[in-house]
Symmetry: C3
């Protein structure tokens, strides 16, 4: 199990961690298996989506902010109920297949750590499981 | 593979099953691995989020009810199309890492069975896979 | 690792691939394990939900189209920002338990490939991992 440390700078911010996860997979030296990702925070998530055009992540950030408005008569007193809702929609885990020692996915796909209550210091857990 | 039986009492209700899953992980007696959760219903889901303040789950319940209104000109004739939509947004599966014989996650995180068409008798499937 | 080829015909279309995945699981000849599904596209996803009444999938298609409207002042210049948002909400992966050589899930559950930017030629990756 490895961890990637992330420093976010905005309240809602999708951070591209593709290169860092790909490096961990390469260093693991396994032939085939699954790369499991887990976010141990309750106001953040993880997402696989296009990372070629950074505008896509911006559009999805805005979409999440629209789906869960910051103020909507929430009960939770800490002022970040919307962040918890966005984390519920994004999800805390992802899994990508590994083949030939690399992530076996789409050429446009990237991994984003989804900050919904930044800025903060965060971490993404990575667990690489070999088929053999 | 183990199963957790759940009796829900409201139409939309997030039931905290953290202690029951944590007990299954402890009883499994494995050192490291992954705890996989699966919901075998089509109008329910599973979510990892804060369980320290129960208001958070209430706010997320309300958010899901807003995102998929009960009546919106649906085709499905059983009157629970919104429940299926909420299940699609929540997802039917979750996975949490295990280290040192325990769930290796955030201190505020909990596991919620997400009822979207209660009250009903439900079940959550739990499969604990060891790394060794 | 196997792949299922899918030809979609509408912009937003949930394609029922249950029988094809079930066949792969049966052919794998394993007793118990996990069937992992992965979508290697950035404008598509995968979902487990009711497939007995096809109206349910239609209702969920419409709900996703409402949650992410086609035009909403997006930055991404390709005209399919909404497709990326829907893929983020649906998710790119799913996992179902296998027991007694078959998918061990609910009797009403089915697997849908979720097209959000069709019509296109797509593929769904399937990886079957045995417990033994």
């Amino acid at each position: 199990m490895a961890e990637i440390a992330i420093k976010t700078e905005r309240r809602t911010q999708f951070v591209d961690v593709t290169a860092r996860v790909a490096r961990l997979v390469k260093d693991a030296g396994i032939r085939s298996g699954i790369c499991h990702l887990y976010v141990s925070h309750t106001t953040a998530g993880v997402m696989i989506n296009e990372h070629d055009d950074p505008d896509v992540a911006c559009d999805i950030e805005m979409a999440f902010d629209r789906l869960a408005p910051r103020d909507a008569g929430y009960r939770h007193a800490e002022g970040n109920a919307d962040s918890h809702i966005k984390a519920a929609l994004a999800g805390t885990a992802a899994a990508i297949f590994i083949a030939d020692g690399q992530l076996d996915w789409g050429r446009w796909q990237g991994i984003f750590f989804c900050e919904f209550d930044g800025p903060r210091e965060r971490r993404l857990q990575v667990k690489i499981v070999s088929d053999e």
